[in-house]
């Protein structure tokens, strides 16, 4: 696009009263070599008259707009000019509202911001989406239990082709093994006949759903829209192309053999899964002699909430045991059910089911920690518990004990295997070979051909669950277009699994729709830009392949990286990682930000600082500080970046060689409970910059001149002081000795 520039400066919101507008326009134009006559100002740029001024210029060919006014976070509807490059220069919040008015400092600050804005447009271009050919909009669902079936039906009913792969010979998973289901609607009284068989029938008769039973995914190759999935069945392998994937691979009960202390192994101690099978067969009996069980004890948290077994709550066992207590009571009104619990967890309205069960005199609930199950003769058992109400120890006889067994996601075994492999790999090739030889390989679920590994990675500390790290974005995933549903994600009950599965259907649909338009998926779901590397200069150092948080970059046989662009989330981590600086987006590049930094005027006297601020949290926090009229340090220039992960080390050189005295990276909190929506942007930036600090030392520049500060969006009140403290520290050290060179 041949650019025709227009610079518009707003005088409203006290901008005009704080800054010499004419001088601002003249200086910025001169220094960026644009004609001064294209600089216009308006009293209220966002007013209909102001907008009309811009629109009439657009009519006569202006296509590159620099609007020096308020923050880009506001007035986005007014300043929306499709088909143009529009750059918002924030001189309201970052100057007029946060600086002493009409000072040399605030004038220089506004000038630097306007210059940077102009340079940004000079270095950028209008993006065009990258749409790959032969895309599929079909959705693969792995797992045919309640979650998988729900996801498949929801996607199919929205008009999408679905491929459903189930490893067992029949669909239904655990739900098909239940005698009855826990009530899930008001008034929470009666048990429900299994609903799964209706779903199976519906799926089997839905023409949009193609079902593979006794089948596994042998290989998943490609990228969203172009995922070639090899499905292996008894009759051979078949390759099917899909656009996105829902992983509903389900769970296993915790290995009851590890619960010997709760009596497992004794004939009359069974798990809750075995209890379902028994109830389905008919009477509740003692396996040892086939006699009807009259006193049935349920032990909650069998394995769960136990640091030696499962250090988490399996979420549905309380509901399950209450339901099974009802089996006991319904099948034999003389029988009693005794439930030993730590806490009864029936959150929400399911509390009403608990209340209903409490009203049954044949259901006894005892709080306590079960310490053991021992023989009482004739196949009967003693359940012993301590820490009961009133602090007593108790010993109760039962003729059947049911262990409310916990949940282990089917992602856990592959995750542990792969973690072990990574660890072994760190010790060298020999250790890796030994590991591969000596460790039984568990069933993998997706078998991705991705360089970063064959499965959806679990977040550290999630015990193998493929959960999202975000409260507010439950379908955040580190493998674009692959979404986890049901107990593979979190322990959850059947009705929760269905809600969750419907959500994954929507996300899988979004992914294929966005891929078809060449747009990113969450969190930059509007972005049509993409990384476009200049491969001639690539040295195959592989930093991009390693650092990409989404595994979007693979390597060819020679080890040269290449993008699977539909996996890319446009965070720019590769751009930050690349030592050759060859990765660029149309509207965001190393050269662009570098040029902006270099355009900052460094006075001979006094200090200058650059703050590279994460767009999502740090920048809005700065805005909020200004909205509260908190003063920002006038020697600091804020440069927004997509993510700190995109910060390239050369910007440090750009800054310090120009005489900038200090550089701050302002980004999200990292580590455990990281807040970066691109997983580890600020952490990677910190790692990279710890390296640069060594270089600074060699240049006789103090390492402190470059620092990463972690800030949350809510900490706007602390932010000005955080920056001031940094400025103060550098002022104490003294000016950059390279100043003036």
């Amino acid at each position: 696009m041949e650019k025709k520039y227009g610079v518009y400066i707003c005088k409203g919101c006290s901008i005009g009263a704080s800054i010499d507008i004419e001088k601002l326009g003249n200086t910025a134009a001169k220094e960026t070599k644009i004609p001064v006559d294209i600089v216009k100002s308006h009293d209220i740029l966002c007013s209909p008259e102001g907008i009309e001024l811009i629109k009439s210029d657009i009519k006569s060919g202006t296509n590159t707009l620099i609007l020096a006014a308020c923050s880009p976070r506001v007035k986005y509807e007014e300043f929306d000019f499709p088909g143009t490059i529009t750059e918002r220069v924030n001189i309201r919040e970052l100057v007029a509202w946060s600086q002493q008015p009409n000072t040399e400092d605030s004038q220089m600050l506004a000038t630097d911001y306007l210059k940077m804005g102009i340079i940004r447009t000079q270095k950028g271009d209008l993006p065009e989406p990258n749409i790959l050919p032969d895309l599929s909009s079909a959705i693969l669902v792995v797992g045919g239990g309640i979650a998988g079936l729900t996801a498949a039906l929801e996607a199919a009913n929205a008009g999408y082709q679905v491929v459903l792969v189930e490893k067992e010979a029949e669909l239904g998973g655990w739900a098909a093994k239940l005698y009855k289901e826990t009530p899930r609607e008001y008034p929470y009284e009666s048990l429900i006949e299994p609903t799964i068989f209706g779903k199976i029938k519906e799926a089997e008769s839905n023409s949009n759903i193609k079902i593979f039973k006794s089948a596994v995914v042998e290989k998943t190759d490609g990228q969203p829209g172009l995922l070639d999935v090899t499905i292996k069945t008894s009759s051979g392998s078949e390759i099917i192309r899909v656009g996105s994937i829902i992983m509903a691979a389900g769970w296993k009960p915790y290995d009851a053999n590890k619960l010997g202390y709760l009596g497992y192994g004794k004939p009359n101690v069974i798990t809750s899964v075995q209890m379902e099978e028994m109830a389905k067969r008919g009477k509740i009996i003692r396996p040892s002699d086939g006699k009807e069980a009259k006193k049935v004890a349920f032990i909650q948290c069998a394995g769960s909430r136990d640091p030696n077994h499962l250090p988490y709550c399996s979420a549905f066992c309380c509901g399950t045991s209450l339901k099974q207590a009802k089996y006991v009571r319904e099948k034999n009104s003389d029988a009693v059910a005794m439930i030993f619990y730590k806490d009864i967890r029936t959150p929400g309205q399911s509390e009403l089911f608990y209340k209903n069960m409490q009203n049954d005199p044949g259901v006894l609930l005892t709080k306590g920690d079960v310490t053991g199950v021992s023989d009482a003769g004739n196949g009967s058992l003693y359940v012993e518990a301590e820490n009961t109400l009133m602090g007593e120890k108790i010993k109760v006889e039962a003729d059947l004990v049911v262990l409310a067994i916990g949940v282990v996601p089917n992602t856990r075994a592959p995750q542990e295997y792969l973690d072990g492999l990574t660890e072994a790999g760190k010790k060298g090739d020999a250790a890796k070979a030994t590991y591969l030889e000596g460790t039984p390989k568990p069933d993998f679920i997706l078998n991705l051909t991705y360089k970063q590994g064959p499965e959806l990675p679990s977040v550290e500390g999630y015990y193998g669950f493929a959960d999202s790290n975000f409260i507010c974005f439950q379908y955040e995933t580190r493998r674009t277009g692959i979404y986890a549903a049901g107990c593979v994600k979190q322990p959850m009950n059947m009705s929760e699994a269905q809600l969750d599965a419907a959500g994954t259907a929507l996300k899988a649909i979004q992914c294929v729709e966005h891929t078809a338009k060449g747009i990113a998926v969450h969190p930059r779901a509007w972005d049509t830009t993409f990384p476009d590397p200049f491969m001639n200069k690539c040295t195959s150092c592989k930093r991009c392949t390693e650092e990409c948080p989404f595994g979007a970059i693979d390597e060819d046989a020679k080890g040269t990286p290449f993008y699977k662009i539909n996996r890319c989330r446009r965070c720019g981590t590769c751009m930050g990682a690349c030592p050759e600086r060859i990765v660029s987006f149309k509207d965001y590049s190393v050269d662009m930000i570098g040029s902006m930094i270099k355009s900052v005027e460094v006075p001979e006297e006094g200090f200058r600082f650059i703050v590279l601020a994460c767009e999502n949290d740090a920048y809005p926090a700065l805005d909020s500080a200004a909205i509260n009229r908190k003063q920002l340090n006038p020697s600091v220039r804020i440069v927004p970046v997509r993510c700190l992960g995109s910060t390239n080390l050369v910007w440090v050189a750009d800054a310090f060689s120009r005489g900038i005295d200090g550089l701050v990276l302002l980004g999200c909190k990292y580590g455990e409970n990281y807040q970066c929506h691109f997983v580890k942007g600020s952490e990677l930036a910190n790692y990279r910059f710890s390296k640069v600090q060594e270089t600074l030392n060699k240049l006789q520049l103090e390492a402190e001149r470059c620092q990463l500060l972690q800030v949350a969006i809510s900490e706007y009140d602390k932010l000005p002081d955080m920056i001031n403290d940094f400025v103060k520290k550098i002022e104490d050290i003294g000016p950059n000795p390279f100043k003036g060179f």
């Binding site: 209220i44 966002c46 609607e185 008001y186 309205q349 509390e351 999630y462 419907a502 969006i713 809510s714």
Partner: protein
């Protein structure tokens, strides 16, 4: 929104925002109708999310950015659905827009607030401080547009705000408007209200100054709250060094709310960290019936709190809460069930973990919908094209509301496509 394929989302809180945005990003247009002057709902009042202790404004910022970048989402604030008729694929909806008295020319400069002489209780802060009749609900509000509360504004008799506005943004003669929409499906995400703790007489709710609700605690701890994030007790602004949390304040009680409100255990454990982080020498005690922290991360969070020697978790019912008039301290009598004894203790402040009441308990959605006795929508009673999400259906946390709302988006899209 004349294509008739839109999904109407009633309620612009976390569930409603999610349903609308997710539907729009899947290619279906959506309309949000929100009764308050801003989007974000209850979560915008929270200081931190459990268990990550991250600020809700972070995710809201992304969601607002998604709205800004989408051509397929229309949102109305100060808006209420007045009438719904029709069937799936063809719903006619009447929406009433209350006057904001501030138009789109508002730049957010704060001049009207500075000029306004009328003080009123700050609802966003649950009355913990005052704001003025010309105000912005909070400093990260979206849209960032001021509003005039006509329950307090003196109107044309005063006009100080209109005179102060340089942008012709204030028109005190604005009238209510009516908008008619044609939509394919309706997602009800009207959320919840806090249980009125003044009904909890023996717990001193609404009467004793230093007995506050869990939502008030969120505001006290928020940097954009009434005390700029400093946790100070209401009666005298004293630092809170010794605090008690009373779980199930109203919930799991046949005389109040028979159900469990789902979030209060995690919310109180989270709020324990607010106090413990702010005042290292502080002590906190939680009185509970059962600690309900289901799943992996909630349970792990509970374990972490239990490790803190300054935190005591006591299974027991609180029998009575009174005020020590001389000091403003709060005297609490409870039964420690595991120890089998009665305890009486004095605290700087007590937080009632008040329950969740569906907004539909008080104001019903104008359509043929069945409710439980507690006011929750009965999902199985809904006719085609009507969907209930989040806490209007059952008490729920944010994470599961987001899952539910994302799923509702796919159902809305099915309705739109069925009606083609």
């Amino acid at each position: 929104m004349s294509d008739g394929k839109s999904i109407l989302v009633i309620g612009g809180g976390m569930s409603g925002l999610t349903a609308a945005i997710e539907a729009a990003e899947a290619g279906n247009s959506a309309v949000i109708v929100e009764k308050s002057p801003f989007l974000g709902g209850r979560v915008s009042q929270l200081n931190k999310y459990f268990p990550k202790l991250c600020p809700p404004n972070c995710g809201l910022e992304i969601n607002f950015k998604r709205i800004k970048n989408s051509a397929d989402i229309t949102s109305y604030t100060l808006a209420e659905v007045e009438n719904i008729s029709g069937d799936e694929g063809n719903y006619d909806v009447t929406v009433k827009l209350k006057p904001r008295y501030v138009n789109d020319k508002c730049v957010g400069c704060n001049a009207c607030y500075e000029a306004c002489p009328v003080e009123m209780p700050n609802e966003f802060n649950f009355g913990l401080n005052n704001t003025r009749a010309a105000y912005i609900p909070h400093n990260q509000a979206f849209p960032f547009k001021y509003v005039i509360d006509d329950r307090f504004c003196k109107g044309a008799a005063c006009k100080k705000c209109a005179e102060a506005c340089k942008y012709d943004a204030i028109h005190l003669d604005m009238k209510p408007e009516t908008v008619k929409l044609k939509v394919s499906a309706i997602v009800m995400a009207t959320g919840w209200e806090l249980y009125d703790t003044s009904k909890l007489d023996i717990l001193g709710g609404g009467k004793i100054k230093n007995v506050i609700t869990n939502m008030q605690m969120e505001r006290l701890a928020s940097p954009n709250g009434p005390t700029a994030g400093k946790i100070l007790r209401p009666s005298d602004g004293k630092e809170v060094k010794n605090i008690a949390f009373v779980q199930c304040a109203g919930s799991r009680d046949e005389n109040h709310l028979a159900y469990c409100s789902y979030i209060c255990c995690m919310a109180s454990l989270k709020q324990v960290t607010y106090i413990r982080d702010q005042y290292p020498d502080s002590k906190a005690r939680v009185f509970y019936i059962d600690i309900r922290t289901p799943g992996t991360r909630y349970e792990q969070f509970y374990w972490k709190i239990k490790e803190d020697p300054n935190v005591t978790l006591t299974k027991g019912k609180v029998a009575k809460i009174t005020e020590d008039a001389a000091t403003g301290d709060v005297v609490l009598v409870a039964e420690d069930i595991l120890a089998g004894k009665k305890i009486t203790e004095k605290y700087d402040m007590v937080v009632l973990a008040a329950g969740m009441v569906p907004s539909t308990k008080a104001s019903k959605i104008p359509a043929d919908i069945k409710y439980t006795d507690d006011g929750f929508v009965l999902p199985s009673s809904l006719k085609k094209g009507l969907y209930a999400v989040g806490t209007v259906k059952s008490p729920l946390d944010v994470a599961k509301s987001v899952q539910d709302a994302t799923g509702a988006a796919v159902k809305g899209i099915q309705s739109a496509r069925r009606s083609k």
